[in-house]
Symmetry: C2
Subunit: 268 residues, 2 copies
Amino acid sequence: MNNAPTSPAELGDPLFSEGSSTISVQQSPAFSPLYQQIKALILQSLQSGEWKPSAAIPSEMELAARFKVSQGTVRKAIDELAAENLLVRRQGKGTFVATHAEQHVQYRFLRLFPNSGNLDSEGPAQREIIDCKRIRAPADIAKALAVRAGDPVLQVRRVLSFVGIPTILEDLWLPGTPFKGLTAERLRESNGPMYALFESEFGVRMVRAEEKIRAVLPDTDQCSLLKVKPAAPLLSVERTAFTYNDVPMELRRGMYLTDTHYYRNTLN
Amino acid sequence: MNNAPTSPAELGDPLFSEGSSTISVQQSPAFSPLYQQIKALILQSLQSGEWKPSAAIPSEMELAARFKVSQGTVRKAIDELAAENLLVRRQGKGTFVATHAEQHVQYRFLRLFPNSGNLDSEGPAQREIIDCKRIRAPADIAKALAVRAGDPVLQVRRVLSFVGIPTILEDLWLPGTPFKGLTAERLRESNGPMYALFESEFGVRMVRAEEKIRAVLPDTDQCSLLKVKPAAPLLSVERTAFTYNDVPMELRRGMYLTDTHYYRNTLN
DNA sequence: CAGTGGTCTAGACCACACT
DNA sequence: GTGTGGTCTAGACCACTGC
């Protein structure tokens, strides 16, 4: 079989004739490898919700048949998606859509660890929703969420405590439209991580995030909520979280107490 | 050719007989894929200095011949090493040993960025070596460097300034033996990143690092060196840097001014 | 042009999980 | 046993680099 470059074909799509020798479908420039195209197709299925979080996607052989490429090509596409934490491979079982729920690490994006002892030694965090209201987006929030200033957004404030000690104060903003119907009640009712709730209730999967970290002093509100003195330095963590296609879906400003905990980062 | 599991063979090593059908050299448990064994062999050559930083390693075909495996297996081994930033692939040219020098990013492990403008907008950092002396390792330093308390270590203090503003104060400790001969002079003479000097002068390549980040207040020395008030919160960044095989080779305690800059992290 | 890494295929077999 | 992902091979061709 010749392997001149061809476009991957969805089921039932017309094929380019196999026998012909040098039909160049994609020439440089703008050459994209087959496996990248397959990756994009899989990504589409993930976005469209064809495969739900924690469900298994079709086997490599099935996908190879569907896209009319070899298993190795599908494999390379899945490899990259697994490296980006969008898929999880489990030998002997299948490939699954990654999820923020039911993962071993309770908070996938939280980089705060206790000074000593492992992560679970202090048990699960206590969560308290302070506030949850609909507001019109100020300019800076709007910019971060890629909406227009004045558009409705949800503003949430909460405190996370470890072994009873308030440690994290978070303000977060969500675009109003995708999160229509989110209330303090529903936040309080949910057990798992907030991002798990976003997945199951609003179909919004956070895929990637960027954080800007600074050392700051708290304002008076923050002092009382975290029970610290005004002179106590806090770690300011401003996170923008993205869904598929780098669409921003959350802005989060956290104040971390770093006496008993530290923010861990690994450099490669 | 059968592909029953075999050990990779260095040039001249005796082979396991190819024809025999079911000689199981490595059974589960402790099964290690061939490409992992190849990866370990390549790693050895990197450690031993067989291939110097920025030099090209042998081509995939050559390595495949040397290790008596297929090109695909070598490829997978190199893929992983490239993903870990130990090797750099350049299409059409070859595969090269990664280096801290001559990289596009001046400081590969520095995560501090100006609030606005890109990285180069403020030009290169100004470096000032405050101090460099030989001391006997206190307990905490010794533990981090995996040496005995009291063993000789080098202690360096320096300030980095951007557009003339002192922004980073760093104290760092290096094990005495591998860095014998390092002086303030030699640090001042060098142009590029410190890690580039370590590579070229001491044959120590930093491969990976872990950072613990906190918000703290400066002591009086730090105040004067960074020209800040005692109440100014600073970002404390404690880094342990590792060479090959996760051997710690540096402990670095940095105080970052985060008024005009921020520490950036990306979560996947 | 030759040499390098990069893509793609097809087929074989191994390790693992379920039933 | 069957089906899944994981490894390994061999060979072909493509894209990029530099002589």
